[in-house]
C-alpha cells in the first residue's frame, strides 16, 4: 500500500511545480504522452480570473503521486450566476504501488475533490466538466462518477468554399484584447441559453490573449459602434464564437473575418465545436460547414439539478474554447 496524504484546496503559487513533476512521473510510468509546460500550468490555474482548485495525493517526501486540478469559471445556470469547474489535469504515477492499490491515490484525490468542491452554490460548484483522454475517461467514469455528456462532433468548413458576403452594416476589427463592453454582446448571445460560461473580458482575455504559446486572432464585431459579437481563431480552429444566430449580417461578417485569419495562418479549413442542440449546429451547416467526428467525449459530473445529463445535453451552450487542451 502506497502511503500518501491528501491536500484539497484552492490552487496556490508553486503548485504548478508539484503538478509538473507529478505529470512527468505519470508520463514515465505510462510509457509517454504529451508533456505539460510550466508556463501553461501557471497560466491555466495560477492566472485564471476566478481561481482554481486542486486535490493532490502527496507521498511522505511531498511529491504528488496523483492529482486533479480544475479552473473555476463563472457560469449562468438558468439565469443564476454560479461557478463551474473545468478539469484540466488528472494524473497518477502508476509505477507506485501494485494491483488495485495502484489507483488508490487518484481515487482518494478525486473523491476528496468532488466532496470538497462539488455541490450547491455559492460555496460550491454544481458542475465539473472536461475533455479527458482515454485513460482519464475510463478512470473518471468507473471510479469518480463522471458521465459522458456527448460524443463530440465538429463542424468543418473547407476554406475554398464561398461564404455569404458580410455586407457593410457590421464592422469586424481584430483586437489585441477584448474590451469590457464585449459583455453586452454576450448578453445577447446568452439569451435563451440555459447554461453557458460567462464571456466577460476577464475570461476572454485570460483565455485567448494571455495564454502562453501561439497567439489567437481575436475579432470583435460592431454595429454602429455597439459590440454585437466576437470570435477567436487559432490554427484553423474557431475557439470561441458569440453572436446572435439570427443576426445574419454579424454572423457573416465574423465568419468572413475568422476565415480570413485562418487562411492567413495557412489553414485550409476552419473547424468549430458547438453542441448539436445549439442553434449554431444547424446555422453552420447551412453556411457550408460539414459535420465530422472527433475523438473527444465531453464528460461531466453534476451535483445539482437541473444539471443532470439530459438537461445539460439540451441546454448547455459551449464552444471548443470551453475545454481547452
Amino acid at each position: 500500500m502506497t502511503a500518501f496524504t491528501l491536500e484539497v484546496r484552492p490552487f496556490r503559487p508553486g503548485d504548478e511545480e508539484l503538478l509538473l513533476a507529478g505529470h512527468e512521473r505519470a508520463l514515465r510510468s505510462a510509457g509517454g504522452g504529451p508533456a505539460r509546460e510550466r508556463a501553461e500550468l501557471r497560466w491555466r490555474y495560477g492566472a485564471a480570473p476566478h481561481g482554481a482548485c486542486v486535490a493532490l495525493a502527496l507521498d511522505p517526501q511531498g511529491q504528488a503521486l496523483a492529482g486533479l486540478a480544475a479552473t473555476r469559471h463563472r457560469a449562468l445556470l438558468e439565469g443564476s450566476e454560479v461557478h463551474w469547474l473545468e478539469v484540466g489535469d488528472l494524473f497518477q504515477d502508476f509505477a507506485r504501488g501494485g494491483g488495485l492499490a495502484r489507483a488508490q491515490p487518484l481515487r482518494a484525490a478525486g473523491e476528496a475533490f468532488a466532496e470538497t468542491f462539488g455541490g450547491f452554490p455559492p460555496e460550491k460548484h454544481p458542475v465539473l466538466y472536461g475533455l479527458p483522454n482515454r485513460r482519464a475517461h475510463r478512470f473518471g467514469l468507473r471510479v469518480l462518477e463522471w458521465e459522458v455528456l456527448r460524443s463530440e462532433n465538429e463542424l468543418v468548413l473547407d476554406l475554398a468554399r464561398a461564404l455569404p458576403a458580410p455586407g457593410r452594416a457590421v464592422a469586424v476589427e481584430e483586437v489585441a484584447r477584448f474590451p469590457a463592453e464585449v459583455e453586452r454582446a454576450f448578453a445577447g448571445f446568452a439569451a435563451g441559453r440555459g447554461a453557458i460560461l460567462v464571456r466577460d473580458a476577464a475570461l476572454l482575455n485570460w483565455r485567448y490573449a494571455e495564454r502562453p504559446g501561439e497567439p489567437c486572432a481575436k475579432l470583435l464585431a460592431r454595429r454602429g459602434g455597439e459590440p454585437v459579437g466576437w470570435a477567436v481563431e487559432r490554427g484553423g480552429l474557431l475557439l470561441d464564437w458569440g453572436v446572435r444566430p439570427d443576426d445574419e449580417a454579424a454572423v457573416a461578417a465574423l465568419l468572413q473575418g475568422a476565415a480570413t485569419c485562418a487562411r492567413r495562418g495557412g489553414a485550409r479549413a476552419l473547424a468549430a465545436v458547438f453542441p448539436d442542440t445549439a442553434p449554431e449546429f444547424q446555422l453552420f451547416q447551412r453556411l457550408g460547414f460539414r459535420v465530422r467526428g472527433t475523438r473527444e467525449y465531453l464528460c461531466f459530473r453534476s451535483f445539482q439539478r437541473p444539471a443532470i445529463m439530459s438537461w445539460l445535453f439540451q441546454h448547455w451552450s459551449y464552444t471548443r474554447g470551453d475545454t481547452l487542451r
Binding site: 449546429f281 467526428g293 475523438r295
Partner: protein, 330 residues
C-alpha cells in the same frame, strides 16, 4: 406475504407470459401502443438466426421481470464473434417494489450477464435505452456511452416516384450478398455479418413491417450494392428510415442511384424526411452531407457494455459499422 421469485433462463412455455407482461408494461403510458403478437415475438426470439438471450424472474406463473437481448453474428478485426442488443427490459408494475435496491430487473440482469458476458462470450451488449433504463444500467450494470446519436436527414420534397435506371427491387437476398458485405467490411473494424440468412430474417420475414429493398448489380449480374428503407413514425415522425446501406465506399454513383430510389419510395409513402444513421468516420457521412442531408441532434444514446478488455467504447465509436438494421424497434 412477499412474492417469491424464480430468476432463471427462458424455458419453453414462457412465451405467452412474457408477451402478457410486455404488452402491459410497454402499453402503460402509451396510447399509440400496438400490442405485440406471438408471431412478432417468435420472429425476434425464436427464429433469430444468431440465437436467443433471455432471463426472467417468474412469480406464480407471472413474468415479473425480464432481461433479454437479440444476438447478432459480427466480425471484429476479422474474427467472428457476437454482439447483443438489449431489448424489452421490463418489470411488471405489480412487482416494481418486489425486491429492494437494486430492484428486480437488475437482479434478473446479473445472472444474464454472468451467462452471456465476460471474455469469450458476447463481446458487446449494446442498446439505445430510454433515459430511465440508461440511468439504471449506468449505475448497476456498467453501461457506457459509445455515441450520442445524431442522424442525417433530408426533406423529401416533390419529385418522381419512379426508380432510377439500374435499380431493382429485391424480393429476397441471395448468397451473393455476403461477397458484397465482405468487400465493404474490409474498412470496418466491427460489423454485423450481412449474409442472406440474417438479412432475410431481418427484412423479409419480420411480421407486420414492410421494408423496401433496392439493389444494383454489376455487369456480371452480381449484387453491387443495396439500400433498405421503411416508413415509420418512430423514432422520428414523418420519417422514411434508411435501415441498411451496403454500398462500397468507392462507388459514389451507385450510392447516388440508391439514394434516389430511397427518395422515390419516401415520396410514394408520403414521408416528409429521409433519415439515415452513419458512424461519423465513414465517407458516406460526408457524402450524404454533400447530397444535402443535414445532421440533427436526437435524444438517443448508443450505449454498450464491452466484455472484452481489448476493446472499449472509444474503439467502437471509431470502428463499428452500425445501422438502424441493428435496432429492433424499427
Amino acid at each position: 406475504m412477499p412474492a417469491q421469485y424464480d430468476i432463471r433462463p427462458f424455458r419453453p412455455g414462457d412465451e405467452e407470459p412474457i408477451l402478457a407482461t410486455f404488452n402491459l408494461v410497454f402499453g402503460e403510458n402509451d396510447q399509440a401502443f400496438v400490442p405485440r403478437t406471438r408471431a412478432e415475438w417468435d420472429w425476434a426470439f425464436a427464429r433469430n438466426p444468431a440465437g436467443q438471450r433471455i432471463w426472467v424472474a417468474e412469480s406464480a406463473g407471472v413474468i415479473a421481470a425480464q432481461c433479454a437481448a437479440l444476438p447478432y453474428r459480427v466480425l471484429v478485426d476479422g474474427r467472428e464473434t457476437s454482439f447483443t442488443q438489449g431489448v424489452d427490459s421490463m418489470t411488471h408494475p405489480e412487482h416494481r417494489k418486489g425486491l429492494r435496491r437494486p430492484g428486480l430487473y437488475v437482479e434478473t440482469a446479473y445472472p444474464f450477464f454472468r451467462q452471456f458476458g465476460g471474455h469469450g462470450a458476447d463481446l458487446l451488449h449494446y442498446g439505445w435505452p430510454v433515459e430511465a433504463a440508461w440511468r439504471i444500467g449506468r449505475v448497476f450494470l456498467g453501461y457506457e456511452i459509445v455515441r450520442t446519436q445524431v442522424v442525417h436527414a433530408l426533406e423529401v420534397g416533390p419529385g418522381t416516384h419512379a426508380l432510377p435506371r439500374g435499380i431493382e427491387r429485391l424480393e429476397r437476398f441471395g448468397d451473393d450478398v455476403e461477397a458484397l458485405y465482405r468487400r465493404c467490411a474490409r474498412s470496418w473494424g466491427a460489423s454485423t455479418i450481412r449474409d442472406a440468412r440474417y438479412l432475410n430474417w431481418r427484412f423479409r420475414e419480420r411480421p407486420g413491417v414492410a421494408y423496401h429493398v433496392f439493389a444494383a448489380r454489376d455487369a456480371q449480374g452480381a449484387l453491387a450494392g443495396y439500400a433498405v428503407i421503411r416508413r415509420a413514425e418512430r423514432p422520428f415522425a414523418g420519417g422514411a428510415l434508411v435501415m441498411d446501406w451496403l454500398v462500397p465506399e468507392d462507388a459514389p454513383e451507385l450510392g447516388a442511384a440508391l439514394r434516389e430510389a430511397c427518395l422515390a419510395q419516401a415520396r410514394a409513402d408520403g414521408a416528409r424526411a429521409l433519415i439515415a444513421v452513419f458512424p461519423e468516420w465513414t465517407p458516406w457521412s460526408e457524402r450524404f452531407q454533400e447530397w444535402g442531408f443535414r445532421l440533427h441532434s436526437t435524444q438517443y444514446l448508443l450505449i454498450g457494455i464491452v466484455q472484452d478488455p481489448r476493446y472499449d467504447t472509444w474503439w467502437l465509436r471509431e470502428h463499428w459499422w452500425v445501422q438502424l438494421a441493428e435496432l429492433d424497434v424499427v
